[in-house]
Amino acid sequence: VGASHGSLTVRRERQGRAREMTVVYAVMVAIVVLLILQFLLLMIGVENYLGGKRSVLAPAAVGSGFCFMAACWLIGQASRRRD
């Protein structure tokens, strides 16, 4: 009974760890997506700045800021789960 209980505990631990890893990878993928979005916003910003269309700059910066904050929040959540 003790041996089967021990193997069950190990399996549960493994399952829990696998779930944790899924969350960690999901967070990493989400951050990469946010980063791509930020690069797109930066490209749009530079393009419009050089083209003389200045009205796009502030919304692009705000959007980039939101992406950065979202990335920080995601990392915070992932770290909290891990700890």
Binding site: M28, I31, Q38, F39, L41, E47, G51, G52, S64, F68
Partner: protein, 159 residues
């Protein structure tokens, strides 16, 4: 029992170059911060650049632009190099000479009837300045012309 030197160096040489997920995620966050800072820098540069409040002074281009039919020449408008093209006896168009891709000077090709940026093979229509092919992302800024009694005048730049 492990040897003393192994306890002093618990990380193997190969593992020392191994990037952990935590470090990778941190570097992603750093790049994200840099992208945000770059976007913020653009806004700051825009705010710090003094805005032009007075319209640029009109530039006289001569009675017939000083060029034959099918010819072209460069003139300065508001400090920017611009090109005047004579498409017909009484048809003139003018554009900024700076390519919208990376700012190379654009040239007129009378035989082909288009404007070429030789740096990266960008082509613009001579009729309206729109992009025909190549990497330029936008049409060439157009210079509005006005015909007066004393000749042709460049009035303003239209982005």
């Amino acid at each position: 029992m492990t040897e003393a030197w192994k306890e002093d160096f618990p990380v193997a040489w190969a593992d020392d170059h191994y990037v952990t997920r935590r470090e990778f995620t941190k570097s992603l966050l750093l790049v994200s911060c840099a992208a945000f800072a770059a976007n913020g820098a653009l806004v700051a540069m825009d705010c710090l650049t003094p805005k032009k409040t007075t319209p640029p002074a009109p530039v006289p281009l001569g009675r017939d632009g000083g060029i034959p039919v099918g010819g072209w020449r460069v003139f300065l408008f508001d400090g920017e190099p611009c090109m005047l093209v004579r498409l017909g006896a009484d048809r003139f168009v003018a554009y900024s000479q700076k390519c919208t891709h990376l700012g190379c000077p654009v040239l007129y090709r009378p035989k082909e009837g288009d404007l070429q940026c030789p740096c990266h093979e960008g082509y613009f229509s001579a009729e309206d300045g729109r992009v025909l092919s190549g990497p330029p992302p936008r049409a060439l800024p157009k210079v509005e012309l006005e015909r007066k009694e004393d000749g042709l005048w460049a009035r303003r730049m239209v982005l």
